[in-house]
């Protein structure tokens, strides 16, 4: 029986700090649901902070030099914690460093909550087996759709349904670019420049605009929610860079617009990310940086969820809900 839940945060960038802040700020509400907890370790590239009695607000102010020397792997091996929140940057080719972190945490019997797509894309079934063998849970709501509920929605609330297909807008950057091209009749490059200025697109936007990020999410959805066993290479990928303002013009004449859609369908066997024509009245025709997903099931039929796909607080929402799911009293 755990008396105080000990939490380790691995990766202390925007997301890691966001989660720590929510854990400190909403401590009372969360403790009402799961019991007492404390953050015992924070791991960064530059070093670590560890206190078995718990770290407080001071941890949020820590920068590079404030951390003590030590590696994340040392903390995972030596420190005592019940759940690791793994939020290091994603590498969808090798899955590292997250893959090593998650494997070692599960191996030592710690639950893992992650927002990191890479390890799941590379080794989903292996990690799930590892979790089962060690009788712990691997939770990853934050990997798909950020603050928009999807993983637990399907697993818990749609339990008993057969999932026929899941498809939708899985990347807010692409959706911003496409919906601005639609409304302002601007070129792809004009909107991309604007999106970079607003911090919506990265300096190197390849990962988003080429459909790579969406494809990684398609892999997670297929494996985790449709019980498939697929890899990144199984997904057909087409990005949004070739889309012109005239394409929107022609589409709009028939009341269509264009969105980048990730699709997993059992019926058609389709596993793809591609720009698609959709009716402007379709629930997936959302604008701005929103994400939207349509889940097609045998019993409940169609369910649509719309929400914010990225952001510090939004991602924290998904991580905190995973934490509550694991330790719910």
């Amino acid at each position: 029986m755990i008396t105080v839940i000990k939490i380790a945060i691995i990766g202390f960038g925007v997301i890691g700090r966001g989660v720590a802040e929510v854990l400190l700020e909403k401590k009372e509400e969360i403790q009402n649901r799961i019991g007492e907890y404390s953050i015992v370790a924070v791991c960064e590239k530059d070093g670590v902070a560890y206190n078995p009695d718990g770290l407080g607000w001071e941890v949020l102010k820590m920068k590079g030099g404030d951390f003590s020397e030590g590696s994340t792997v040392d903390i995972i091996e030596t420190a005592e914690f019940d759940v690791a929140i793994e939020v290091t940057p994603t590498d969808i080719k090798k899955g590292e460093p997250g893959l090593t972190h998650i494997s070692e945490c599960l191996e030592k019997g710690s639950h893992v909550i992650t927002s990191n797509k890479g390890p799941l894309v590379v080794a989903y079934s292996k990690l799930q087996e590892l979790a089962e063998r060690n009788e712990v849970q691997l939770m990853f709501e934050a990997t798909v759709g950020g603050g928009m509920p999807l993983i637990k929605l399907v697993r818990n609330d749609l339990a008993g349904n057969e999932i026929d297909s899941i498809r939708g807008i899985l990347n807010g950057t692409c959706n911003y670019i496409l919906s601005r091209m639609e409304s302002e009749k601007l070129t792809y490059n004009q909107v991309l420049t604007e999106a970079k200025e607003l911090g919506i697109a990265e300096a190197d936007p390849t990962y988003d605009v080429e459909g790579i990020d969406s494809a990684a999410k398609v892999v997670i959805i297929a494996n985790a929610l449709l019980n498939m066993d697929i890899t990144y290479d199984d997904v057909e990928i087409e990005g949004i860079t070739a889309i012109t303002p005239e394409a929107f013009e022609v589409a709009m004449e028939r009341d269509y617009t264009i969105r980048l859609i990730g699709e997993v369908s059992r019926e058609t066997g389709s596993l793809k990310v591609s720009p698609r024509l959709i009716s402007t009245h379709h629930p997936l025709a959302v604008t701005g940086t929103l994400n939207a997903v349509q889940i097609r099931t045998d019993l409940a039929k169609d369910i649509v969820v719309i929400g914010r796909g990225a952001g510090q607080k939004e991602t924290s929402s998904a991580i905190i809900s995973d934490l509550i799911e694991i330790f719910r009293k």
Partner: protein, 168 residues
């Protein structure tokens, strides 16, 4: 809707074609193509002319009868019932890469036809856009036609934006 291909026999004289076409328009048929098979002209100077028509499938018989009543010999006709239709956007150098070849590849399947096309060309040498509508004899055939379209366009570096609706 159906696509009907009729072969009529016309004398090589002015005004002949009109006698075949008038009933088609009277029955609301949309003429997709007319092909004079001059190389098949008979010794009596009769030319087989193939006319492709898109028409309400319930009016095919009446239209054929009306053509016959106009004094035109209908050598043969065959009908493709098109029950599934979808549209897709093509973006790229559609014209430079021989649009008619792309359309012909679909039409040659025998089970699918390009029934409508709307092209937007912004400037010379800039990518253009076409909304292409394809009908086929069934859902599966339509999927096959879309696969073929994707294949042809991939080779020509044209982006195909397919619809999301599953009413394939």
């Amino acid at each position: 809707m159906a696509i009907v291909s009729i072969v009529v026999e016309l004398k090589d004289q002015p005004g002949q074609l009109l006698r075949a076409l008038e009933p088609i328009s009277r029955y609301g048929g949309n003429i997709l193509g007319i092909l004079h098979q001059r190389e098949k002209m008979t010794p009596l100077k009769i030319i087989p002319v193939e006319i492709s028509i898109k028409i309400d499938e319930n009016r095919v018989e009446d239209m054929i009868n009306a053509i016959k009543e106009n004094g035109v010999n209908v050598r043969s006709y065959n009908e493709i019932r098109l029950v599934a239709t979808t549209s897709a956007l093509l973006v790229g150098h559609i014209i430079h890469t021989d649009l008619s070849d792309t359309v012909r590849k679909i039409d040659k399947t025998g089970y699918a036809e390009v029934i409508d096309m709307h092209i937007n060309m912004p400037q010379l040498n800039e990518p253009s856009t076409a909304m292409i509508t394809i009908s086929a004899t069934g859902k599966e055939k339509l999927q096959d036609a879309m696969k073929l379209l994707n294949e042809v366009c991939r080779n020509k570096d044209i982006l195909v934006i397919e619809p999301l609706n599953e009413e394939y």
